[in-house]
């Protein structure tokens, strides 16, 4: 399948993994979280990682973010080691829960990375206003997190990840805890945001429709040991209304993803 979708700058990939291994030593013996993972992600791509729990999709995201150290193989982010990339503010990370600090207002939460990275006051204000607009939360800056709904909190946490303008956005099941309707809405908004900012997005999910709807590239993974079983380049256009999910192309990709998941996993 060819990519007739996102405009890609033909250069070296933003994220590149070669034969990546990660083994956790536990009391019950070693656990192969990742084994022989090869993957290239280009600038501006929206890549979903999908698979059953234990397949290493979150672990892979954490390796990119240098929150875990691989035990074998190579990985580069922006041509650097993940550690160096992090120090160069290469990525913003969105966790499964919003993880806003309850003693900070939304505004102050978004300022948190900016304070740590040493932006000056005026610049902080400017960026907060900017990203609040981007996630459609203008006017909510002075609220405390508990005054916002779950979906709004998650949008605030995306705003926080966008605030320092990293090129890569890593999202670990960001909408997993939200209900279907809110989820659809946020998926739509996320696509608009991606189109406007042209960021590279790594997105972990266990929902097939979500993965197919959002992605330009779907990485299907399977557990024990965690490995990639299929990489699907989506032929869907970049403009995606919600009803694209009823089109035959969409269903075709969804079927391929489902087959990939089934092949990699014995349901016994």
């Amino acid at each position: 399948m060819t990519t007739a979708t996102a405009p890609q700058i033909e250069s070296s990939p933003v994220i590149s993994a070669r034969n990546l291994d990660l083994t956790f030593e536990t009391n019950d013996g070693p656990v192969h979280a990742l084994k022989g993972v090869d993957l290239d992600i280009a600038q501006g791509e929206f890549v979903s990682f999908i698979g059953p729990s234990g397949c290493g999709k979150t672990t892979f995201l954490r390796v990119i973010a240098a929150l875990e150290q691989p035990t074998g193989g190579e990985i580069t982010v922006n041509g650097m080691s993940p550690d160096e990339a992090r120090r160069n503010r290469a990525y913003g990370y969105v966790f499964q829960a919003a993880g806003l600090y309850p003693w900070r207002t939304i505004e102050k939460n978004i300022k948190l990375p900016l304070e740590i990275m040493g932006f000056d006051r005026a610049e902080q204000e400017r960026r907060v206003e900017n990203v609040l607009d981007l996630v459609d939360l203008a006017g909510f800056g002075k609220k405390f997190p508990w005054q916002l709904s779950g979906g709004m909190q998650q949008r605030a946490s995306i705003a926080r990840a966008l605030a320092f303008d990293a090129d890569i956005l890593l999202m670990d099941e960001p909408f997993g805890a939200l209900d279907e309707i809110v989820r659809d809405h946020l998926n739509e908004q996320l696509l608009q945001l991606w189109a406007r900012t042209n960021k590279t997005i790594g997105f972990v999910t266990h929902s097939i429709p979500e993965a197919v709807y959002l992605s330009t590239k779907i990485v299907v993974m399977s557990p024990r040991p965690g490995r990639i079983t299929d990489v699907i380049d989506s032929p869907l256009p970049k403009e995606r209304p919600l009803n694209i999910r009823d089109s035959s192309e969409f269903l075709e990709i969804a079927t391929r993803v489902r087959d990939g998941l089934r092949a990699g996993h014995a349901y016994d």
Partner: protein
């Protein structure tokens, strides 16, 4: 206001128990006095009375019961006597209280006559003695809290301290404070430290421990995700401390402070006991027990309880303010 009813109920129950307990506690004394006064009592001689059970005596001599409330030096004074003593030792001390105004050359900033100031300045005044105890308590609490926070920060950030300090902190609390208080006073006196500080040190010895325990728990309360988030920003340890660990620990800290300030007050009173302090609530307790003045002891105890309640109330108010400002009080 809805708190008033439950509080009054408890107070009423305490008074009822107190009043009821006065009879059995003082009955033998009353019976003794009645026997010597030539009244008809059963059994008639003190020796026989000594061999008879208290309940038997009370049932046989109901007419003596009112006398149990009337002793000047009872084993257990009735509440009214204690209230009178507290009044006598506070506002009852006022003599010829007048407004003198602030004169140009007056060094008396209150503008009241000395007769009014007896309420806080007289050496029988409970308010005077309470302040003598309160001042070292506050200093000791400040020292203890500061030390407790420093130790907690060390324990959380340093593995050697984590393994090394906590056992000692626990061991320190197993030593009876009564045993080391005189040594502390004597040793400090030998090196020329007197006055507020020795008492404060003993008070801080009791108050640092709850702060260490609560603060360690609080500083370790941020979850893995909160810490991961900081790591994705490449935050330094001091940034993680100031922006994550410290704010997370504040609810824990306040809970500890409430325990700590009560412990500090107990520490100060205990420090006054074995060292022959002349002023302070502990000194009042001690002289009360020397001379068998139970009323004085109870008055000092109630003053101590009121002081403790006041201190805890102050902490609670600061806690409410702080947590509301931080958005942690919904």
């Amino acid at each position: 206001m809805r708190n008033v009813f439950p509080i009054l109920t408890i107070v009423a129950v305490i008074f009822a128990i107190w009043y009821a307990a006065v009879i059995p506690m003082n009955f033998r004394l009353a019976l003794d006095a009645a026997t010597r006064g030539g009244e008809e009592v059963i059994p008639a001689t003190p020796d026989e009375q000594g061999e008879t059970g208290l309940i038997r005596l009370m049932l046989d001599n109901p007419s003596v019961m009112p006398a149990a409330y009337a002793f000047e030096r009872p084993r257990l004074p009735q509440p009214g006597w204690v209230a009178t003593e507290i009044y006598d030792a506070t506002f009852g001390l006022i003599r010829r209280c007048e407004w003198q105004g602030w004169g140009e050359d007056s060094d008396n900033w209150t503008g009241l006559s000395d007769g009014c100031l007896r309420v806080v300045a007289h050496n029988r005044s409970l308010i005077f003695h309470a302040w003598q105890t309160m001042a070292p308590t506050l200093l000791g609490f400040a020292i203890g809290t500061g030390l407790g926070i420093l130790l907690a920060v060390g324990i959380v950030h340093n593995r050697v301290m984590d393994l090394g300090v906590m056992p000692w902190a626990i061991a320190s609390q197993t030593i009876p404070i009564l045993a080391i208080a005189p040594m502390v006073i004597v040793v400090l006196n030998a090196v020329g430290v007197q006055g507020l500080l020795p008492k404060s040190l003993i008070s801080s010895y009791l108050s640092f421990f709850p702060v260490v325990v609560g603060m360690v728990k609080g500083l370790r309360s941020p979850g893995a995700m909160d810490l991961d988030l900081m790591q994705t920003y490449s935050a330094s340890r001091s940034q993680i401390f100031w922006k994550l660990r410290l704010p997370s620990s504040l609810p824990y800290l306040f809970a500890s402070l409430k325990v700590g300030i009560a412990a500090a007050l107990v520490g100060t009173i205990v420090a006054e006991l074995p060292t022959g302090a002349r002023f302070g609530l502990g000194a009042r307790l001690l002289t009360g027990s020397y001379y068998g003045q139970t009323v004085q002891i109870w008055a000092a105890l109630i003053m101590a309880a009121v002081s403790a309640a006041l201190l805890v109330w102050v902490i609670t108010t600061i806690e409410k303010r702080t947590l509301t400002t931080m958005g942690l009080n919904r």
